[in-house]
């Protein structure tokens, strides 16, 4: 493993998990960096709030029976014309902005996490296969990766989106928007995982334990999953963190551009896009609060990712 080993000194085997975590180098470094602690608390809080949206929100913005057009574009409660029912105001369809943000964050998170998971699965599998098999398979996979790396993720996501839209003519956007967003993110971010995993696989596959596993006749898939994978997965942790931020930005951007989620199932990006239309009439709150939530969350994730990269970098220790 490339993770730093537990701190030196005798470590009685009877230690509880908690005290072992607390004694870990990573934990020590974590509490040494106050900014990272703040970022972790913020991102945890936002994730928890999104998870518990049905209990925290004052209404279900997806339920048409609870939304009234008469409540549209009400400013936040501290401004003239504010309504105590809607603390942060309402959007153009009369949805409570606070509830819509909670539910929207939930949508953004689910898509971001699934997209990253898909990208990691594709990338890790292809990276393992390319590195272990070598030869022509390796060449083909890495060539594809090279070609794709020259295109920005957002462009690939847009293309995937357009192609699916063409293939699914007739059926409404609601039915496939979710899956397509996850697919676009998965297909645009796999390269980094594949390259990293392939690099470590090339080194690990010539070590004795792999030779030993091969000699005792274990099947190749088992060798890849049981022996190789745990030893090359370390660096992926950093990419995962940084990619989550990127994936959420990508989803928001696609929804903002009007090729993501429809206004009936708003993510943060959709809310910002709605708010953008009302910016000129002075309804600043519709774009501000979802935008702020998105910015704070992504910034926190990036801060954690940055810290993790430095903390796991053996050259900086």
């Amino acid at each position: 493993m490339t993770l730093p080993s537990p701190s030196a000194g005798p470590n009685p085997s009877g230690d509880s998990l908690w005290s072992r975590i607390m004694a870990h180098d990573l934990t020590y470094l974590f509490f040494r960096s106050p900014l990272t602690v703040v970022a972790a608390i913020l991102s945890m809080a936002i994730m928890l709030a999104a998870l518990m949206a049905p209990w925290l929100a004052s209404m279900d913005p997806f339920d048409p029976a609870q939304v009234f057009l008469a409540d549209a574009n009400i400013p936040p409660v501290w401004q003239d014309g504010g309504d105590p029912r809607f603390v942060l105001g309402t959007d153009d369809q009369g949805r409570d902005l606070y509830s819509a943000i909670l539910y929207g964050m939930r949508v953004s998170l689910v898509i971001g996490l699934s997209g990253v998971a898909l990208a990691a699965t594709i990338g890790i599998t292809l990276g393992l296969v390319a590195g272990y098999a070598g030869g022509r398979i390796d060449a083909v996979i890495m060539r594809v990766a090279d070609v794709q790396l020259t295109f920005p993720a957002i462009l690939i996501a847009l293309l995937v989106n357009g192609v699916v839209q063409a293939l699914s003519k007739g059926s409404s956007r609601e039915t496939w928007a979710f899956g397509v967003l996850i697919l676009s993110i998965g297909l645009s971010f796999w390269v980094q995982y594949a390259r990293t995993i392939r690099g470590s696989t090339l080194i690990e596959k010539n070590k004795d334990y792999i030779h030993a596993a091969r000699l005792v006749g274990q099947p190749t898939p088992l060798i890849l999953l049981r022996h190789l994978l745990p030893n090359v997965i370390g660096p992926v942790l950093v990419i995962l963190t940084i990619n989550l931020g990127l994936a959420i930005i990508t989803e928001a951007t696609l929804s903002f551009l009007g090729v993501g989620l429809p206004p009936t199932q708003p993510s943060l990006g959709t809310l910002i896009s709605i708010g953008n239309k009302y910016l000129f009439s002075g309804d600043w709150w519709i774009v501000t609060f979802p935008g702020l939530t998105l910015a704070v969350f992504v910034l926190s994730i990036n801060l954690i990712g940055d810290w993790l990269r430095d903390a796991l970098n053996p050259r900086l220790q």
Binding site: V147, L159, V163, A166, L167, F256, L257, L299
Partner: protein, 325 residues
Amino acid sequence: MLAFIIRRILQSCMVLLTVALLAFTMFRFVGDPVAQIVSLDTPAEEVRKVRESLGLDDPVVVQMGRYLYKAVQLDFGISYQFRQPVIELLAERAPATLELALISSFLSLAIGIPMGVYTALRRDSLFARVFQSISLVGVSLPTFLIGILLIYLFAVTLGWLPSFGRGQVVTVSGRWTTGLLTASGLKALILPSITLGLYQMTLIMRLVRAEMLEVLRSDHIKFARARGLTTRAIHFRHALKSTLVPVITIAGLQLGSIIAFAVITETVFQWPGMGALFLKAVQNVDIPIMAAYLMIISALFVTINMVVDLLYAFVDPRLRATIKG
């Protein structure tokens, strides 16, 4: 050396061919070209004629060859939504995008490099920390949010700058329209180019800082110190020079992605460029435009990549040695 150049060019051609194959697949199989031209009550005979005139009954390989042959001559077919040749639509909008992209790259270099040098030389000063924090925010904020923020501040609240369009443009040398020659055109460029360039700027700043810190530790700088040169000469004559080589390379490579990222900026600012056209094509399933844009952008990327690689081979003696060996 010649072998390397030929191999590199062949490699680029292979990549382009792959992309063209992809574009053709999209063009031929994703959208039905006939359905876009005929209406529901067109007689079957008419439909058959259209199919024939488009050559859709020929073997796929022949169609692929024809598509490639036309694409090389910049004939990408006719847009479904505008009923106009795709290449005309793209050519009409290319100046807007290229101008925006070039100004943004220039801005990101002109601001990013000094900021990077400063943060490397005065690592612990207050401004260096401020710049570092700004760069993290710049990386974290999505492009469209930055655009909205700038519009709200400078267009809606202060009313200093326009929030959409290119302003007044003048036509130079036949078809090229430019906004660089009029006051309103220049004013309209400010917000979009900042929006588009901010991400690159933070990237370049971080890169310059990292490279500079690395170079300042190297032997030839130590030697320059030992010779008793002034700090200014060491920093700006020796260190900066070796820092800039990789930075210029990255900036060159980034030019392609700036043009691609223009899709977002052009949408926020209603900038009449190629990116906005592409987005409209994605929304309205206008496959010919999507395929053409894909091919043009990839041709651009591949060319830039190749030129950078070849330049490196010419400049770097170590690389030259490995190519020979």
